[in-house]
């Protein structure tokens, strides 16, 4: 038996986390079923040529919200409330290893859902991905980082698993309302659209649209250096949310329940 390193410790803890998630039927159902259930509903909406983009954006968005964000908030709070997080904090694993291991099973599920989504879109909507579709990967990776950090930050304000239903609402609402997922951004006044671009789900949806349909979620067509600038801006917003979330986590994250 070789000495464990950070990677092997992450995998060990992720494996235990997977077992725990699978034994929690509620959490498993929400994480596994929400994204694929939402997608067929969207597909019924009139979207014209943009349907593959709409489906993929919807899938990526809901998967980040319900698989990564909501599930991680509830599971992290549950582990904290049963003092398991504090036990892990006493272990040989680094704190960041513990926090990464908790999200790892959720990232695997996210990847599976996105791959299945791509397959379904390609088969049913006759979609042929180009190299631009790699932007969906960028959206998923940076989005996952941002929503991982935001989930950990949300646990700071969440006392119990039950109260997570309430404490996750603000970010869920912001994500749904200002990303173009549920409300057409054209309905918003211009200054609001500008602000919406700084919210943590807009860049994800925007990057998926650029990757799949070649247009922005706002409907603008961008190409050349304008495209590069848009992609970098979206990426910067997601990195910004990641950094902001981790800053709060570093200062305020709790490894044990409040006494």
């Amino acid at each position: 038996m070789t000495a464990p390193n950070d990677l092997s410790r992450t995998l060990t803890l992720a494996r235990a986390e997977t077992t725990l998630l699978l034994r929690n039927k509620t959490a498993t159902s929400i994480a596994v079923l929400t994204p694929p259930l939402i997608v067929p509903l969207v597909s019924l909406m009139p979207a014209g040529a943009g349907l593959p983009a709409l489906v993929m954006a919807m899938l990526t968005g809901t998967a980040l919200l319900f698989v990564v964000y909501y599930t991680l908030v509830t599971s992290a709070v549950a582990r904290r409330e049963e003092h398991y997080l504090k036990r892990l904090y006493t272990s040989t694993a680094r704190p960041v290893t513990i926090l990464l291991a908790m999200v790892l099973p959720l990232l695997v599920l996210l990847a599976v859902q996105l791959l299945l989504g791509f397959a379904a879109v390609a088969a049913l909507l006759d979609y042929r991905p180009s190299w631009d579709a790699l932007l969906v990967l960028v959206a998923a990776l940076l989005g996952a980082a941002a929503w991982w950090a935001l989930a950990l930050a949300s646990t700071v304000f969440t006392r119990t698993v039950e109260s997570a239903q309430l404490t996750t609402l603000p970010l869920l609402m912001v994500a749904l309302l200002f990303s173009g997922l549920s409300l057409p951004l054209a309905l918003l006044p211009d200054p609001a659209v500008l602000l919406a671009q700084l919210t943590p789900m807009f860049p994800v949806v925007d990057l998926v649209y650029l990757g799949v349909a070649g247009i922005r979620i706002t409907g603008d067509t961008v190409a050349g250096s304008e495209l590069l600038r848009t992609v970098l801006l979206d990426a910067a917003v997601l990195v910004g949310w990641t950094v902001a979330g981790l800053f709060l986590v570093r200062r305020r994250f709790r490894w044990e329940p409040r006494r």
């Binding site: 003092h83 006493t90 926090l99 200062r251 044990e256």
Partner: protein
């Protein structure tokens, strides 16, 4: 290999203080609560140090800093020659920690958790051996949530010893155990000491400290107010000679016993007298000759000074100007 007196020290704590920031109040005067108010602690290899004290005395707050789970507000901690907070990657593989709250995910089975824990360790002992040592081998496939409180405590101990620690922290390891399991745990702790492990133990069972500890520290209001071997601590406590006397018998003669303090308690027409002395043999002789054949000393007890007596005496003393810790909202400094 020989150890110099210096390298023999596994725990070296100097002037340790820990202050919790108070919640809610921002700005203005710091209304935080200082749970640990300057403790010094040195522990050698193969030594068991028992840290005693009432609830809220600061035992767990001190342990968390010594273990490296939190930063001290002031003072220094050296654990196996390193700062346990800054150098956690160096220190953690060499120590074992058993927290007061076990912290188990109830949905995992005993073996699943034990294997997970084992894979995190650098030089782990076999899971089967460790579970057998704490008497849980027959419960291997049971969900942790189904274990009794005592069984969970023993699982916790199993995980703490799995990494062959050089220093092990046991925060109330036998709470909730039946007398037999408690003795099994004591045997296990003696085994660790024989392997030169340093053991830091907190307990509410004073008998446990009496049986196991090489040295004892009694904490009160954030300070170690008494420290020494059991004999040294008990030496400060007088022996107690107590007996009942029929009413009507004049006890004034007893007050002449030099060096003995006389206490009288009257309860429901029943009179019980107690003599406190550091020379029980002489005072008992005087008492018996005073009574002679005429006076009956019923229910006569001679009890040597005890750890419990010392503990209660310290617990009863209050330091003026301190705040109550029990209902204090605290904010431990444990950050990622």
């Amino acid at each position: 290999m020989t150890f110099s007196a210096r390298t023999d020290l596994t725990v070296d704590v100097r002037g340790l203080r820990r202050r919790y920031a108070s919640q809610g109040r921002r700005g203005g005067r710091d209304t935080g609560f200082e749970a640990v108010r300057g403790i010094d602690l040195q522990i050698r290899r193969g030594e068991l140090y028992a840290l005693l004290g009432t609830n809220g005395a600061g035992k767990t707050s001190s342990l968390e800093v010594i273990e490296g789970l939190a930063r001290p507000s002031a003072g220094t901690v050296q654990l196996l020659g390193h700062d346990p907070y800054a150098d956690r990657q160096l220190v953690r593989p060499r120590i074992g920690i058993m927290l007061q709250e076990a912290g188990f995910p109830g949905a995992l089975t005993v073996t699943e958790l034990a294997r997970t824990w084992q894979r995190l360790l650098v030089d782990p002992r076999p899971v089967e051996d460790v579970l057998q040592q704490v008497g849980l081998d027959h419960r291997r496939t049971v969900a942790i949530a189904s274990l009794s409180g005592g069984e969970q405590r023993r699982l916790d101990l199993a995980l703490a010893i799995m990494g062959r620690p050089e220093v092990i922290f046991l925060d109330e390891p036998t709470t909730g155990l039946d007398p037999q399991s408690r003795r099994t745990t004591w045997e296990l702790i003696r085994g660790l000491l024989a392997e030169q492990t340093s053991v830091v133990l907190t307990t509410h069972y004073l008998e446990e400290a009496e049986v196991l500890a090489d040295r004892i520290g009694i904490m009160h209001e954030g300070r170690i107010v008494r420290e020494g071997t059991l004999a040294e601590i008990v030496k400060s406590q007088p022996s107690q000679i107590s007996f009942s006397l029929d009413t009507g018998i004049d006890e004034t003669g007893l007050t002449r016993f030099a060096g003995a303090a006389l206490h009288t308690e009257e309860h429901a027409g029943h009179r019980r007298l107690r003599l406190e002395t550091f020379d029980p043999q002489r005072v008992l002789g005087l008492l018996l000759s005073w009574a002679g054949d005429a006076i009956r000393l019923s229910d006569l007890h001679v009890v040597p000074g005890s750890l419990e007596q010392a503990f209660l005496e310290i617990a009863a003393s209050t330091d003026l100007g301190t705040t109550d810790s029990t209902d204090h909202q605290t904010q431990p400094e444990m950050i990622a």
